[in-house]
Symmetry: C2
């Protein structure tokens, strides 16, 4: 059983609620960590930081930077500038981790786009290190390879991270994206202290929708405890973030969602 003190509530699990309502619900249900998104904190990260801190919550990570590949050098430069801003926002909101969703290829050249991801991270890694912010490369499920991320396996994320110092660039391990991979346990072990975050949800069968149909822990087929155990044996001791995009869940009030997450977390993670 996972200890409730490790639970972090990713803001998008209550995707229609305000940051204030999510914070309030976390406090009520003894959830000590929160994972906010840039759209909710970017305008005034200091105010958001104050809202979170005064409630006694800690910030596990900021979602999200990345999206490096683009068709032109000018556009790639703009993406890099946006990532520099995201790093500043992460520092301002009070977390040492920026989650990177690395983006799709602008055309058919997936290997070229993968190189753009490496180049993009290299271009912002120095600023991140100076800001005390680590960069977490999140492999997304291969079904998102064409529209969200050319980084689709733990193996690929491990190779990218290995190009940078261990304390600066690592992995965000989200079970929804990687549970199917025959190499997943070998790659988790290999990642070791490069695991910067661990996200949980579940894969429902049949899947109502691939983007908006993630399941609540316990409702699907993912071996959550086995994967958590592997991450812990690899050295991960940090917060465990619950990130569920699900229309039906979003229709419920934040208070109910956080309560259900806390319950399922203790039972199934």
């Amino acid at each position: 059983m996972a200890d409730l003190s490790r639970l972090s509530f990713n803001q998008m699990t209550a995707g229609k609620a305000s940051l204030g309502d999510v914070v309030k619900a976390c406090v009520k249900h003894n959830v000590g960590w929160i994972g906010p998104w840039r759209h909710a904190v970017g305008v005034n990260p200091q105010a958001a930081a104050q809202l979170i801190r005064s409630a006694g919550l800690k910030v596990s990570s900021l979602c999200r930077g990345g999206m490096f590949p683009a068709a032109t050098a000018e556009e790639r430069r703009r993406r890099i500038e946006d990532n520099l801003r995201a790093i500043d926002e992460a520092a301002a909101i009070g977390t040492d981790l920026l989650v990177l969703v690395n983006g799709p290829a602008p055309g058919r050249d997936i290997d070229g786009a993968r190189q753009m991801v490496v180049d993009g991270i290299a271009a912002v890694a120095g600023h991140a290190a100076q800001s005390g912010v680590r960069l977490g490369v999140e492999p997304l499920h291969p079904m998102f390879a064409a529209d969200r991320s050319v980084v689709v396996t733990m193996g690929e994320a491990n190779e990218i991270a290995a190009r940078f110092p261990a304390g600066q660039v690592g992995l965000v391990v989200d079970v929804y994206h990687i549970w199917w991979d025959p190499q997943v346990y070998a790659e988790i072990a290999k990642a070791g202290d490069r695991i910067f975050a661990f996200h949980v949800s579940d894969w429902i069968v049949p899947t109502p929708d691939f983007l908006m149909g993630r399941g609540m822990m316990g409702d699907g087929v993912i071996e959550l405890q086995r994967l958590r155990g592997a991450a812990e044996r690899a050295g991960y001791k940090g917060p465990i973030e619950v990130e569920i995009f699900n229309e039906a869940l979003w229709a419920r009030p934040a208070d109910e969602i956080v309560g259900l997450v806390a319950e399922r977390f203790q039972e199934f993670v």
Copy 2:
């Protein structure tokens, strides 16, 4: 450019047409190969074989066997019997290749299900060899890991195939399922003469539907010629099968579909 003589039309690309109409359209558009499905030939494979042969067509493969994992030994035994029948049907329809879609886990134990796949293939491999039918393990896209196949990468299919004699068990390489994989070119090279079939379609962005939203060659992001080139360098010289599940396409007459497939095949594959 791919030579039209290598084109095989998978019956399900015209999913609502009869086998007779598909055969007629293939003849009209100079398509020399066809890939039928068991539901269309299983009742009377001899009659289907006669229909296909008398039109001068050859059969590239029969879809599909597999679906080995099940919760009980009794049910696994039934699946094996069904695969023995599928092998007989493949021989009767005049092909030396049965495509295996290997099935999902009956519960959360994906590794256990993977072992059931190996055991299932082992249980039918002897009968297949005696019948002159090769078994083609098809890795499906990881988005189908929970409901169609625990075999989801070329690497995994290569490992399974390597347990059996090279002429008996190999791989069905369908670009739709494997194009995203950072290891795909290494694994195609590794597969070598274990590549028993090569299937093409395309991945459309945005994807209208993950099961029924495959694209016509040229409409998506898959590097078709690069992947075909890799398969050929690995030694594959056989038919190239076009397999597209797409509701909008299915709404058109078989004649139009086969014509469009032949055109796009020559331009994009």
